[in-house]
């Protein structure tokens, strides 16, 4: 099988381990553990990079400098923040439902990490190539709303509970336009498999075929991952910090990490569905993939620091009255387009 840089490296590693252990089964087991650890390493590293990126980009957009004193160019700023959060006191509210409250940050991490299992990072570099890949992504992505609800409910705090209910309302109404936008892509590529969707874009990226679906998808994924202009779940000026209000120190850091893991997976999803995945000339696939992913993350941050927060009713109206009809229209138009294309 032909493969990209990542696959070649993984194979080399596997042969190395196999040579050392001398047992096929054990080395395969080690490889699985290595791969799972790789996901967590990527998530944590990406979170640190993204937080730094966010603060610098925010600074530049607001005509400031952003963090630049801690380490060279302020690169160690996020590291300092993370270490500080580890050293903070862990406050558990007296009235909180201890067990539920305690496991929520860890549970939130499961869907955030699970979703990485089906992303094609490079030619052939995908952990499990499910034949219902995109369906799996949508299903797992919507799980995180449960954790928000759980955290807000278990905190026994008015603001937390209000934030949790907002999270449910928001994610439900963002998911439906998103699913219909993705459906148009699936119609064009003819498969739910992530690798097939990427392979179908080797000549033409789907952003050119389905521009309307791209716009709908981008807006609704911003709602899905709670980023400004749709960060109503933690809207600071209204409900303090939403479901996270009572969390301090390391527990809150886990929420924070999951949030940035979701941002990364949203960018990867956008790249995979609309921007041709790892396809690109000259450079190896994984490099193209990273370049595109970080450009999309930059786009999301640009949007975040440019627009103010919307109200909850505006957001609901946008998703149910504008995005959903547009997505349905897009599906109809795509169907007619495919019919004409096949007929010609």
């Amino acid at each position: 099988m032909q493969g990209g840089l990542l696959v070649i490296l993984t194979d080399k590693l596997f042969y190395g381990i196999n040579y050392l252990s001398g047992n096929e089964f054990i080395s395969q087991l080690i490889m699985v553990i290595v791969q799972i650890m790789a996901i967590f390493a990527v998530i944590s590293l990406a979170a640190i990079i993204q937080v730094y990126m966010e603060r610098r980009i925010c600074g530049f957009i607001q005509d400031r400098l952003g963090p630049n004193r801690v380490g060279p160019w302020g690169l160690l700023q996020t590291v300092a923040d993370m270490i500080k959060l580890m050293g903070k006191e862990d406050i558990i509210p007296v009235k909180a439902q201890r067990i539920l409250w305690g496991i929520t940050p860890m549970l939130l991490f499961i869907p955030a990490a699970l979703i990485y299992a089906v992303f094609p990072f490079d030619d052939g570099a995908v952990f499990v190539d499910l034949n219902v890949g995109i369906f799996f992504v949508m299903a797992v992505m919507s799980q995180s709303v449960l954790m928000f609800l759980l955290g807000g409910f278990a905190s026994e705090n008015k603001y937390s509970f209000m934030g949790a209910m907002r999270a449910v309302a928001q994610m439900l109404s963002s998911e439906i336009p998103m699913a219909f936008a993705v459906l148009a892509v699936v119609m064009v590529s003819g498969s739910l498999k992530m690798t097939d969707i990427v392979a179908a874009q080797s000549n033409m990226w789907f952003i050119a075929v389905e521009p309307l679906a791209f716009i709908i998808f981008t807006i609704s994924i911003l709602m899905e991952i709670n980023r400004t202009p749709f960060d109503l779940v933690e809207g600071e000026s209204e409900i303090i910090a939403g479901p996270f209000t009572e969390y301090s120190g390391m527990r809150w850091a886990l929420f924070f990490l999951a949030e940035y893991a979701n941002l990364l997976s949203a960018a990867i999803l956008t790249v995979t569905l609309f921007l041709g995945g790892w396809h690109g000339p000259v450079l190896p696939g994984i490099l193209w993939f990273l370049i595109k992913v970080f450009l999309v993350i930059f786009l999301f941050m640009w949007i975040r620091w440019t627009y103010p927060r919307t109200r909850i009713d505006q957001m609901m109206a946008l998703s149910w009255k504008v995005l959903l009809p547009l997505a349905l229209f897009n599906i109809a138009a795509t169907g007619i387009g495919i019919y004409i294309y096949n007929w010609m």
Binding site: L65, R69, V70, V79, D81, K84, G87, I240, A241, T245
Partner: protein, 165 residues
Amino acid sequence: MEIKERVPEILRDNVLLTTVDGLFKWARSNSLWPLTSGLSCCAIEMMCAAAARFDLSRFGYEVFRPSPRQADLFIVAGTLTWKMAPPLKRLYEQMPNPKYVIAMGSCANEGGPFADAYSVVPGVDKIIPVDVYIPGCPPRPEALIEGMLKLKEKIRHPELIQKVE
């Protein structure tokens, strides 16, 4: 080095202990997240310190957290009345340790122009412990940044502060 000398003879080799301590001091002093709170006119200067001209974010202190559970630093910016004192105290108690307090402006230091008023607390140190006092009515944003850097020094070298006392 000073910390190492204060460790008992037998434990001197325990380099890791001092290193972790130093690491946490470094991290804490470099990421003071203030609580989003302001009492009166000094709060305007505090907002100004975070904006483009003075840019508090260069030092990594611009992350104003809305929830006291995630904040490290309480900037008491403005006049504290007796009526506001209990909520202020509760906010302070809701913050997780280690926590720091900066009294910004004459009002927070000792009552300022309203020191004799029946309704004004003559200095927030009557209510909560204060780490750094910033004089001025109002202090300029540079003064606030200077105060935060002084707090940074204090976190890095707690032994110096103890000696002065």
